[in-house]
């Protein structure tokens, strides 16, 4: 080798090393930073992610019976036309995967305790959440429900499980034919989609149900009861929880109303000393649960996980036929939880348009050509807690008898770490949840010598809800719909109904447990409202409220029905039926009050679609309407001669129409006052006695109007002075003004625009900003028909400290039973969960935030579909 060759060789070696180094650097992930080359460089990543679906596709599919046509409209909503429902399900699976697969994947992983497998880098500690979800039994019971469904299919009870299998086939067909087109999130997290299974579809049903019924309030109520006991104010607990029907308009109007005086406080009872230790333990447990990822919100949220639905019959509408409206309030995300779809089957006559959850092969809320329905959460208590003495790690005492725990072994995979083995212990009632918090929760923490805490809930069982949904979509009249409703067991929902025959109905329904409360401790308020002593055999579930005894209202004389998570029934229900359907867990009724008032005020033949639209987007806060006159009256009382500052506030509130308009300042003043009024009224008891949560707002309204000298107004920390309503109102005004002056950095109240602090946002599913939409200014509040809730923390010092609301209406739809083609809908995101798609957030930006809806193009013949509304088509060639 000559001299020159040697020099070249050295240069080649140097370049080779540099090349290898740079290529390697871009090919391997570094910590949470994924392999950048795989995301950014042509050939992979963002260059292979299709922003939009192809304008036209023709696909030969070997296991389709016949051809299937999918037309996507201008909003990306698929209208699927097939000859059989199995083919229909296949195509729905295909388009779900095409638009939403990452969302589907995360949903099943959450239920199945498999988030840490892919998310451990981004969310340290997420394996504890996986264990928590495994312990709640959703994976186990999803699998059991799938087995149960297949048994029903095998024994001829049902005949549609083939459709669910075909749905999974459709999902997997898409995944297998588009391996290089996975969404951005897969590149970021560094894993690949796995095939879909029928169990995954059942997992998603469990995911939805848990979101709506999981709650720990039995424990907090117990702790609160004991706190009051310790302070010697046991009657306050009863007052707080028994008076809260004030202003409530029950969903089912046939069981009386709550216009009579509130229930008087119960007689105080003796409480054993060990109960106080147990209460402290429960409080600690709740704190530990709050440390789990995603659980804090569950413990602290405002009641925006609600919903509205209402229906009016033909006597009130301009068309002579019912109109039904629904908006379910859930977390806002990009993408949102709902995926609109229109399914038409030529052979069976199915023609249904509605809101599907990607992962489930059938619409959840929808209308077909004959009927329409909608949901709100019913808030029934279907989850109980039991505490026990244990003998050792394998045995506990149940009903006085040593009993062995049953166990299930799980392995939780953790990205970048060794898997963790996890053994779930179960009692006769359910999983031992006290094993689950970070590092486990020791018996001593409960104040129990060798004790555990377990839970029982209706989701800890097989469910028949999938049968109800099938029945709803196929029902052609009220009788068929009622028959299907019998299968709706979880989650408890207020199901509103209307049909083309003119019927309207509302039915709060669920599998509601009946507890054996004989022999329970005298301090226990029973009916599942407090944790039971499992070792004493208390509180066993001995059955469920029969479907026939659940409340229902059909074609009521008032000609309309409303549910907004308020109390389901009036006081007569418990008397006539003997069941305490819903001891707590309902909203304080301000949204329901507004909707009832609005519908009540309309005369015969006056309600049309436009009225329903306006009501959906209504931002009148009835709590403001209730309290503002009190503020003004008390300011008059306190200040015969007002300062300029007070007068300015007074004038603003005096001229207010109670609309929580983002461009007005009165909503800001009222909202700040409300929080400080709460604090002035209950804050002292909270800190002094350990009340874990303030009472519902309607109790405050009750004492404001009915008992101005209530003990709650007295500041218990300032004896001997006894404060009254006026003191609290004025104190709250003063605090509110100081607070707003601080956060707005202005003493001029005309600058305190509500929209500046009241904003919304739709975060991405991972919560790391990959497609975060927002923030956007919002009108409304947690008490308006248009719901949204922000926290107004006392420690905020600037408007930028306020976090946007990420909850609200997750869909809206209005169904005109006189002509289904007039029906309209909207979701607060878009159909397609690909950030570069025009359908990623188009409905949110262009419709939802503008108070608009889109047409549904409800035709059952594809050739009748208006060509101007066609954006893309898929033609599946079947019959091979």
């Amino acid at each position: 080798m000559g001299k020159i060759d040697k020099k070249i060789l050295i240069n080649v070696i140097i370049v080779g090393v540099v090349t290898a180094g740079i290529v390697t650097a871009f090919s391997i992930p570094l910590g949470v930073i994924p392999a950048l080359g795989n995301i950014l460089f042509p050939g992979k990543g963002i260059w292979k992610i299709p922003g939009e679906v192809p304008e036209y596709e023709e696909l030969e599919v070997f296991n389709l019976e016949n051809d299937v046509t999918v037309i996507r409209d201008n909003w990306g909503v698929p209208h699927i036309y097939a000859k059989s429902e199995a083919d229909l399900a296949f195509a729905l699976g295909y388009v779900h995967a095409q638009d939403r697969f990452f969302q589907m994947d995360m949903g099943r992983r959450e239920v199945q305790g498999r988030l840490a497998e892919v998310l451990a880098d981004f969310a340290p500690g997420v394996e504890e959440y996986d264990k928590f979800n495994l312990a709640l039994g959703m994976k186990y019971w999803s699998e059991k429900t799938a087995e149960y469904a297949m048994e029903l299919q095998d024994n001829g009870t049902i005949d549609f499980m083939d459709d669910w299998v075909k749905y999974a086939d459709g999902v997997n067909y898409y995944l297998n034919t588009h391996k290089n087109e996975k969404p951005l999130e897969y590149y970021l997290l560094g894993f690949n989609p796995e095939p879909w299974d029928i169990v995954d579809s059942f997992s998603y049903t469990a995911f939805m149900s848990s979101m709506l019924i999981l709650q720990f309030s039995d424990l907090s109520r117990y702790s609160e009861y004991m706190a009051f006991e310790a302070a010697g104010y046991e009657e306050w607990y009863a007052e707080k929880y028994n008076n809260i029907h004030y202003g409530q308009r029950p969903i089912v109007p046939e069981y009386g109303d709550y216009s009579s005086p509130p229930v008087p406080p119960s007689t105080p009872v003796e409480v054993p000393e060990e109960n106080f230790e147990l209460a402290l333990g429960f409080t600690e447990f709740l704190n530990a649960i709050g440390d789990l990822p995603y659980q804090k919100d569950l413990l602290t949220r405002e009641f925006t996980h609600g919903s509205n639905n209402w229906v009016v019959d033909g006597t009130k509408t301009t068309t002579g036929k019912p109109i039904l409206a629904n908006d379910m309030h859930l977390a806002w995300n990009s993408p949102g939880i709902w995926y609109e779809a229109h399914l038409v089957c030529e052979n069976t006559g199915l023609n249904t348009y509605g809101f599907t959850v990607a992962g489930v092969p059938i619409p959840i809320v929808a209308h077909n050509a004959h009927i329409a329905w909608g949901f709100t959460n019913a808030g029934m208590d279907v989850m109980d807690f039991y505490f026990y003495d244990t003998i050792n790690d394998t045995h506990y005492v149940y009903d006085g008898t040593p009993t062995a725990f049953t166990t299930i072994d799980y392995e939780v995979k953790i990205k970048g770490k060794e898997p963790e083995q996890f053994t779930l212990r179960e009692t006769v009632h359910g999983p031992v949840v006290s094993d689950l918090t970070y590092g486990g929760f020791s018996a001593e923490d409960f104040g129990l010598e060798n004790g555990v805490l377990a839970t029982q809930w209706t989701l800890y069982n097989v469910t028949n809800t999938f049968r109800a949904l099938y029945g709803f979509n196929h029902a052609t009249n009220l009788a068929e719909f009622d028959e299907a409703s019998k299968f709706f067991d979880v989650p408890g929902q207020n199901i509103v109904y209307a049909d083309v025959d003119g019927n309207i109905q509302i039915r709060p329904t669920a599998r509601v447990p009946i507890r054996d409360d004989t022999g329970i401790d005298p301090w226990n308020t029973g009916n599942g409202t407090m944790p039971y002593n499992g070792s004493a055999g208390q509180g066993d579930w001995i059955g469920f409220v029969p479907f026939e005894d659940l409340p229902v209202s059909t074609n009521p004389s008032q000609n309309y029905l409303v549910s907004a998570n308020q109390v389901s029934v009036g006081p007569d229900y418990a008397v006539t039926k003997g069941y305490h359907l819903q001891p707590y867990g309902y909203a304080d009724g301000y949204r329901a009050r507004r909707i009832n008032e609005a519908l009540e005020a309309k005369g015969p033949g006056t309600i049309d679609i436009d009225f329903m639209k306006d009501l959906h987007f209504d931002v009148v806060d009835t709590s403001a309407a209730a309290f503002t006159p009190v503020i003004l009256a008390e300011l008059d009382n306190a200040y015969p001669s007002k300062s300029t500052e007070i007068q300015e506030i007074y004038d603003i509130l005096d001229g207010w129409d109670y609309e929580m308009d983002k461009d007005e300042v009165a909503p800001t003043i009222f909202r700040a006052w409300r929080d400080y009024m709460y604090q002035a009224t209950y804050g002292d008891e909270s800190s002094e006695y350990g009340i874990s949560a303030y009472p519902d707002l309607n109790l405050l309204e009750y004492i404001v109007y009915e008992n101005a000298t209530s003990h709650w107004f007295d500041d218990v920390t300032t004896t001997p002075k006894v404060e009254n309503l006026t003191d609290c109102v004025v104190k709250a005004v003063d605090y509110a003004l100081d607070y707003l002056t601080d956060v707005y950095d202005s003493a001029d109240p005309t600058t305190w625009r509500w929209g500046e602090i009241h904003k919304g946002a739709a975060p991405d599913l991972l919560g790391i900003g990959v497609g975060y939409v927002g923030p956007f200014e919002l009108s409304g509040s947690g008490y308006t028909v248009t719901p949204s809730g922000i926290s107004m923390r006392t420690y905020y010092t600037s408007t930028s400290d306020f976090r946007p609301s990420t909850h609200g209406a997750s869909q809206r739809y209005i169904v005109d039973l006189s002509n289904m083609n007039n029906s309209i809908s909207v979701i607060p995101s878009g159909q397609r969960a690909i950030q570069s798609s025009r359908h990623y957030s188009d409905q949110l930006i262009e419709l939802f935030l503008q108070g608009l809806y889109h047409e549904q193009w409800f035709t059952n013949i594809p050739s009748n579909f208006p060509t101007t509304a066609v954006e893309s088509e898929i033609y599946f060639v079947g019959g091979h």
Partner: protein, 127 residues
């Protein structure tokens, strides 16, 4: 540069640009080194090879990026990606970085190709 070298230089650019585009279809971005390498071999020079390869891959990737911008709205994806690092609205920075890295990979591939061919071919001639 004589006419022959100029033709080789321009041919190298064209070859590497085309190869960069074709190889991107495989989904293995690392193969882009081959595009630059080919230009280097054609130029029989590390210097001209790296320049030819760099410009060629720059053009090849630039075309892909341009096509993507026109047809697939990658800006939204790049913004989403950038937001993880707290950066939003800077998709154009990513575009520039991507084609600049394409240029770099072309340069490296070209240098390797030009160097290796010089090491191999003289040996062959000696035989």
């Amino acid at each position: 540069m004589d006419k022959k070298q100029l033709i080789l230089f321009l041919s190298g650019i064209a070859l590497s640009a085309i190869l960069a585009w074709i190889l991107s279809i495989t989904g293995i971005w690392q193969l882009v080194i081959i595009a630059g390498f080919a230009a280097g071999v054609l130029n029989y020079s590390m210097g001209w090879g790296c320049l030819s390869g760099g410009v060629g891959v720059f053009i090849g990737w630039g075309g892909i990026v341009l096509n993507g911008i026109i047809n697939n709205n990658p800006a939204a994806l790049l913004d989403a990606f950038g937001s993880i690092m707290g950066l939003t609205g800077i998709a154009w920075v990513f575009y520039i970085l991507i084609v600049m890295f394409g240029f770099l990979f072309g340069v490296l591939g070209g240098a390797l190709g030009g160097g290796i061919i010089r090491l191999i071919v003289p040996k062959t001639r000696e035989k």
